[in-house]
């Protein structure tokens, strides 16, 4: 079999993955594009391994490693995506512009209409402790205790 067959298939897959990463708005679909690119690389590795045929099986072992790293990457990526969904209630990467470079604009004017209530980064911006009880009104305090070992009510027991 010509070596070019798997190489061209993997080239096309990689280009499709690039398109997916750049063009999709849903963060999960972006991750699918990354998976396509990783699979293109895997096909390349396997094809070159069979073509080269060294005794170490470098290509196939590296493919296994890439698959493992891809699994770790997808786990972390989806954790971040779920976290984003929890904060913003959407996973649209076009609307997540917190780190966008704006000339001379403060956080208030720059953040635009996308700031949701309960935006936990807002606490970071104003220097207010996010975890602390600054904005707390007292309800839900009984559950909150479980997280704070220094709470006096808990320290007695």
């Amino acid at each position: 079999m010509p070596l070019l067959y798997p190489l061209l298939v993997s080239t096309l897959l990689f280009a499709i993955g690039v398109y997916g990463v750049l063009a999709r708005r849903n963060a999960i679909l972006v991750l699918m594009g990354v998976e396509l690119m990783l699979n293109a690389v895997n096909l390349n590795l396997v094809a070159f391994d069979t073509w080269h045929g060294d005794g170490l099986r470098s290509g196939q072992v590296l493919t296994l490693f890439v698959i493992t790293i891809a699994a770790a990457e997808i786990g972390l990526g989806l954790a971040i995506v779920l976290r984003l969904f929890r904060v913003r209630a959407h996973v649209d990467v076009d609307r997540v512009r917190d780190l966008a470079d704006r000339d001379g604009a403060g956080p208030e004017t720059g953040a635009g209409p996308e700031v949701e209530i309960g935006d936990e980064w807002a606490g970071d911006r104003t220097g207010e402790p996010v975890d602390g009880s600054a904005g707390r009104t007292g309800d839900g305090e009984s559950v909150e205790e479980a997280d704070r070992p220094t709470q006096p009510a808990r320290s007695g027991g």
């Binding site: 094809a47 069979t50 770790a72 209630a89």
Partner: protein, 185 residues
């Protein structure tokens, strides 16, 4: 030999076609399902290239675990099953140009470098579990162990990311009213 060639071309066409559908379909869940087809066709390609263990690992981990994770994430982010109009950015034409450029550059390089090279499938030794296992545990032990540390780090990271302040947020009931308005984006 020619049967292998035809089979590989068919699998490659299936893989590329379903990958195209992954990045162009308007239904999010269908993208995940087309990804299954792509990954399965690639597993077939690995089998044809004598990488037997890699093919089964591909089926187990990618089709079995990664796609399930993706579908779970789609479910947890309340992705709609109906077609979504604005799943692609307005700058998709630019992404298309970049993708075509990537395909052109890489494809030209590969054709220039490896035209005429032939994979000797008949003479290649099968990459079964025994051969790959020997290679992993004889030559590649150190990367293997480093990889286990990386997996541990990813595990801890995922746990921290998904639980850190989420409990506080849930308790305060902040995202009760937020979800319903624009869950689909």
């Amino acid at each position: 030999m020619t049967a292998v060639r035809v089979l590989f071309l068919l699998l490659g066409v299936v893989a590329v076609g379903s990958a195209l559908l992954v990045v162009t379909t308007r239904r999010v869940v269908h993208a995940a399902l087309w990804l299954v087809v792509t990954l399965g066709a690639l597993a077939g390609c690995y089998l044809l290239l004598t990488a037997e263990l890699v093919a089964w690992v591909q089926v187990l981990i990618y089709v079995g675990a990664v796609v399930v994770l993706l579908v779970f994430a789609l479910m947890l982010t309340r992705s709609p099953t109906a077609p979504v109009a604005d799943l692609t950015t307005a700058n998709a034409w630019f992404a298309g140009i970049v993708a075509v450029a990537v395909a052109g550059v890489v494809g030209t390089t590969l054709v220039a470098g490896f035209r005429g090279e032939v994979i000797d499938l008949a003479g290649a030794s099968i990459g079964g579990a025994e051969a790959i296992g020997t290679a992993v545990f004889a030559t590649w032990v150190l990367p293997f162990e480093v990889l286990s540390v990386l997996l541990l780090a990813a595990l801890v990271g995922a746990i921290v990311l998904s639980t850190a302040r989420a409990r506080r947020r849930d308790r305060e009931g902040i995202h009760d009213g937020v979800h319903d308005g624009e869950g689909s984006g």
